[in-house]
Symmetry: D2
Subunit: 500 residues, 4 copies
């Protein structure tokens, strides 16, 4: 890849900056220039709906002038003609994202984002399209790039471009394309962003490095990912965060719903789609009993697997015990297991030595947040044979014929091999929308140059917008009850430290 | 389709025969000639592994002479060159079918099927290949056709042909091809079958009609399907069954494992692969609480769906109550449901009137044994628009914009849209193998011209062969205990009427 | 106990009879005279409601003349004055036994038991009182004795006597009392039974031995227990059964509901009431995976215990695997277990050697049908100390201080230490009532001198009478559907061999 | 009750104090003098083990001089002779409280409480005895009173007195006795407390009012209850807290284990012991989906009940949806319910109007933290009849004969009608012990005059001490992993805001 020009552009301004970013876990000591793109930007990603993609057109979108039906050419997508198909995908997604639709309705009159100019960088899928179009409906102007070079649904990008969103994204961007798209969002004549919506921190990073003056107008950053939030806290610690930022990643609605409930479903889906494995009676070890591990364990046990757990934290370990899971060390059980699933966020949780001891046919996969949990690199040695049996499924074959079935090469199973329900994404997207509204409308002084969690009351509002999906009927406090409990009738209903 | 010649061949010999077969449920009063192929033979079927299929070769296999590496041409498959890929699929299947492998080992010396000439007609998949190769290992000679025109895995058929099995089958046969293949298995010079292994009854039917004299040498029929077993009971009732037959369909290992446990897994898999729906909090009605319904309900409840049940049988209804499912009439709840799943084996369980009342986005699918449960025909009216959004997924759109999401056009969801675990198929395949051995080796007089269930002791043997997959350790009765219980130490352990 | 006179009365008439009965499992080779009372008659039994019992009155009821408010003295109970309290207990039980109440209403006009003279021998509890009063409401005359010397609720017996049922029973009968009560039911002037309702076979046995001529008028026997049914089959085999008998024990409503669902609840209840043990995280081995074992495993797993299973039958073992329970030999795990629960019906399933290896604090109890499963006798050796810590709870203490917690001395935990829900008893009682009606009204020739199961249609009727408790709404077949399925619209809906 | 003298003693010193305490929810506006005893002090309480209580001895312990076997008379219990029985109860409790035993062993050498003089006021049960004896083993001197007038296990108090603990407590104290006992603990010559361990705040309150100077020596207060903690926060807010206090109630080990897991077990136990109700198929509404509600719902659903939920908080409501519970308003469902269970902590959650609409036989009970949730007072009207059918079970009978079954008169079901597993109490007791150690040994300045939560690392230590009960094996971080995660290898492993 020739990214010589481009890498110059994004070189860190000085050694200190480099220092600051390199604190974030990376596998190599030296942060090579080409790594300035965040790792999450290149994670493989299963895009459910790119049905119409034909591989016949190899022309780069950057070189292909396109115009939408209203005559605008302020976008860059694979093929604007796919707009209709993308529209249908968006409509299907809307069915499970009615919270955003109802947010549009509730804010119809006041337009709480009137005047907002949002530059965004997220996955570009039917679900994020519903978010973007909600922002537009609330009054915002939007310019958008993709946060991952593989994850864009081209049809959806076309549909967004067709209705006038300045979207710059396609599936299979090069790294140079990646930064070019982001740049086109930020650096446009006669338009200056006053809000940032980021997923992974690359957009924020780019603005910091290339257009620091833009921050003078920015009223706030909304960041969703672990990685991006980590970067923001680093900036804040270093005194370099120059606008308020909202940490959506650690909101209760994200942690408890996206992690627990979503993984409860996607672990089964991911394993079935890749291996058709039967769960009943299978012996499984789940490494880590946080929200992700809890979701995985619950689903697998429910379908008849015999599940044990490894933990480093005695509190989580005790929860596992009370929930009926034997707490073991991986070494004690690895030889008997039919599946090994990592959910720790840590590195080398499954080592080569343990892989050597697994039995024939053992399935190994990762549900944690990075691809470091299984020491996949250690498997790339001459005595082992790799056989790709299906997409995302490798048989690693030992000299004695033993096969270990490795999924998604140790990357996230649920991003690579299953889909994420629109409903769960709706919770996160609604949180992002409300965070934008909050930061954009907050009276001066409410937020400083720091990283904030969404106020509990808005968390509760996000949840309440999703209750109609279940036809759930909330009970209202009587005046007498509110007084007895010392609560406002409209919430918040819990102290900040409440654990749910 | 020109099947003029062929249909003559399979016309019913006389009116009485016609009568006998037409007792079996059919949708049309008049059994048209082209319906002489059993309905199950044309059900759509998701073949998991036809990875190498290329659509470029449109030549009919019947017109393409092929030779395997040993020089034999006594087979007819899509492409013999796919044998290596098919072999790998078979090897993968073997990992979850170790019962058959261990059956091969246990019977290595004695060859209980030495001299057996088995003509078979089943789905031709990696799993049935493991069965066929087991029969060969036990001493049998095999000739094989497909029982379904869509379900053949061409690579697997190639692999079987390569090792010398006379297999006649490919994916996408015409009905004429279908009968031609069967005929090639039965009607071959210098070889006369003495055993029949059938799935659906088409092979048995063909032999009855075309080569009745073959039955003089046949020692028994092993039949797996509901349909085929029904046909055999009809024959028996009519006094026309001229050899013993073994009903594998109603063996406990099939009923309790294939139906209950398999559906527990495939309902989730089928729904996810087609719709990516989130299960948590969804309101679902399952029509029918037999083994299939029990499996569906258990899985959906375990993943957080709110499930209610319809039943006609008060005993099953009471079980549903005790298991925590509200028992309702479909009309009472259909308006609120997010999903409607049929598992009754009956017809018109979901009517047009009920489809009219469903809410927008309701998913409708069928897990029962035929495609009659949902009145799909009633949806093919001018005012409704059908939109195919994915393979096996149709949106049926009402004039007011309401969409009902119909899966697999009302055919079996788990055959069409999910895969069946090899392990579960292994239980059925082992039962088939043991039924063949039993019938082939039974002393004269043990079995008459009637339909039998596998002796309980052999059911227990099938189960015991599968325990090592789970590293399960069986307890043995002491002499004293066996005496106390009045049992033989080696079983059978339960009376015939035991319900498990 | 001086039972010299009495034992003469019930001595077996000849050696052959003795032979016949001694085939039934007994622990001692020689059937001592005092053992002619069935073992179940002396099992300890927790009677929930003997609230008003005062121990002040030591007079034997047999020596205390009593008269009810209508002047009758044809009964013998502890204290007729307790009738009012007993009436309330019966009323409470009626709330969960509405099937019997609705049976009374449906049969109000026709009185299907008009003319029936039923002699009964069952536990005398509020629940059986509801049954007896139902028989009376349907037209029967009843005389009743207790089938267990400990289980009578004296207040309930008083309430029955008060309304005119000739009941002879009290809590704490001697064996002599036991037979005297039965005799008073059978041997009464001017009244001759024509139906027998038995639980355990002692009444039947007594009539056989003492009043064989009574059988000339008897139209049938209804028997509920394993033991009694076993005796009937022995009689039938020996050609000595001289009237039709109905086996209620093996009806689907009893096997699936009483065993599975009832044990699912009573295992938890019995363990809590005796030991207050926490279930979460406990390691438990359940011996036997029949209906009882399935119920126990399901409940314990649901509350967070880690459960493994022992089995001798590979089919049940395979079910355990698929349900997510590790199948082990007791010896392999006994050292780690927190609880050992037997549900096999076998003997010496837990041996002294295994008790020796249990860890300190291990709880051992029996849910199977007899008290033979745990080798309790082996614990009565000098080096072990027994300490009774609560009613039904013994600590058996090893020389090194290790304690094993033995419940109910190895007798049935759920009879001894928990209560059985009225609703489950209602299912069995309704089956008994319908069996009486069926035998009493059957046209001559329908039943011979053999043991029968209740016709499936009546099983279904029993179930249907219980659905209103759950507000369950049954779906009715349309004519078209019934025809398609080849079913009568009113059932039966399943073949006899259906396993549910 | 003549408490004239005593009430003077505890009158609030001034109006402001009165103000401060009366902020805490009370049902009456005027806080009568006799209410100065906290409500929790008079809650009914099921004491599992007072087996030896004989009602023959009516002498007040205060008037009965007693001496233990070592000659000490510095205690006041019901009957010192019951010590041996109490010792056995303590030993039984120790089996499930091995964390405290292992704490004794680990701290054997250093005696971290050497010099500590602890005055305590808790329930006096076998479990708290294990705590008290642990404090003694760690070097503390202890004086102890009961925090509830009904909950003392007399035998356990005797056993404590026998080994030299100055315990003043018996079952059935008058309010005067209650304060006398506390006073005897605090006000003793030659001994001045330097630590307070309180449950409910009455002891703390007494010292504040009567012996404020004692606080000069007090190094800290450890408080366990909701009520007591509330009082402490009030004091702190008012600037009147003069020593550091540790809030044990809100530690994760208490909230997540005591509330969630304990209620999961005790809801079933409490319902069974009082009503013998069958859970299968029952329709239940649980009011409140906090930890307590989650525990109740999980257990009831697991045993086959059909459960719906009411909530005021949309986040908890959304969790209920995702967990598979329909979220409803009580009014919508109250007519159909078989059971209504409150877990809100609020008042009048179940109103008379709703009680009027319940169906016959509906069971109503409270699992929340106070007796205000069900408006029981509203049921004490002339047209309703109350019938006490068992201990803690009232039938409230409407004029039309409808009965509502009210448990424990609306007080806490699990305190009144079930037992709490020793293991769960062990977690709380260990937290109390560690809180004492922490406060007693903390370097000056670490804690100020404020209310603290136990440091996360000590929470983790509490959990780790309980893992051996489950034979759970914790995984240790490698140096490399700890560095990657930015964690200390010994914890703490989670940020303070982690929700578990």
């Amino acid at each position: 890849m020739d990214d010589s020009d481009h890498t110059q552009q994004i070189q860190f301004a000085n050694q200190e900056d480099k220092q600051e970013f390199s604190k974030f876990p990376t596998k190599t000591g030296r942060r090579s220039l080409s790594r300035s793109i965040s790792q999450s930007s290149t994670d493989s990603y299963s895009s459910a709906a790119s049905y119409t993609d034909s591989s016949d057109d190899e022309t780069s979108p950057r070189e292909k002038p396109q115009v939408n039906s209203k005559g605008s050419s302020d976008f860059c997508v694979k093929n604007i003609k796919q707009a209709e198909f993308g529209r249908r995908e968006i409509e299907i997604a809307e069915q499970d994202m009615s919270a955003l639709i109802s947010l549009r309705k509730r804010a119809q009159g006041e337009k709480p984002l009137a005047g907002a100019k949002v530059v965004g960088c997220t996955h570009i899928t039917a679900q994020t399209a519903v978010l973007i179009e909600t922002l537009v409906a609330l009054g915002a102007q939007c310019r958008w790039a993709a946060c991952n070079i593989y994850s864009t649904q081209n049809e959806v990008a076309a549909a967004l471009a067709e209705i006038g969103v300045a979207v710059f994204a396609w599936k299979g961007e090069s790294e140079d394309d990646f930064w070019w798209c982001i740049d086109r969002c930020v650096n446009t004549e006669g338009w200056q962003a006053n809000m940032i919506l980021d997923d992974g921190g690359d957009l924020t990073h780019w603005v910091y490095k290339k257009y620091p003056s833009v921050f003078k107008k920015i009223q706030g950053i909304v960041e969703e990912s672990v990685t991006g939030v980590h970067r923001l806290y680093q900036l804040s610690k270093a005194g370099k965060l120059c606008v308020p930022a909202m940490n959506v990643n650690d909101s209760v609605t994200k942690q408890k719903f996206d992690n627990l409930y979503c993984c409860r479903e996607s672990i089964l889906d991911g394993l079935k789609r890749t291996t058709d494995v039967m769960f009943g009676g299978k012996q499984v070890v789940v490494c880590g009993y946080g929200e992700v591990g809890k979701g995985c364990c619950s689903a697998l046990k429910a379908l008849g697997a015999i599940v044990c757990v490894t933990e480093i934290d005695p509190i989580c370990a005790l929860q596992a015990c009370m929930d009926g899971f034997k707490v073991v060390k991986l070494n004690e059980v690895v030889r008997q297991m039919d599946m090994v699933i990592t959910c720790t966020g840590n590195k080398n949780v499954v080592t080569r030595e343990q892989l050597d001891r697994m039995k024939n046919g053992c399935i190994v996969c990762n549900m944690g947040h990075s691809n470091t949990e299984i020491d996949v690199a250690s498997l790339r040695t001459p005595e082992l044979t790799w056989e790709r049996v299906r997409s995302q499924v490798d048989h690693v074959i030992w000299p004695d014929g033993k096969r270990v079935i490795l999924l998604a090469e140790g990357r996230l199973l649920n991003l690579s091999c299953s889909t994420v329900p629109s409903f769960v994404l709706s919770i996160t997207a609604t949180t992002q929308a409300l965070a934008l509204i909050e930061l954009y409308n907050a009276p001066e002084g409410r937020y400083r140059q720091d990283v904030y969690l969404l106020p509990k009351k808005m968390d509760e509002y996000v949840a309440s917008l999703h209750l109609p999906n279940f036809d759930a009927h909330l009970t209202e406090l009587s005046d007498e009850q509110a007084k007895y409990m010392g609560l406002n009738k409209n919430g918040p209903f819990k102290p900040n430290y409440y654990r749910y």
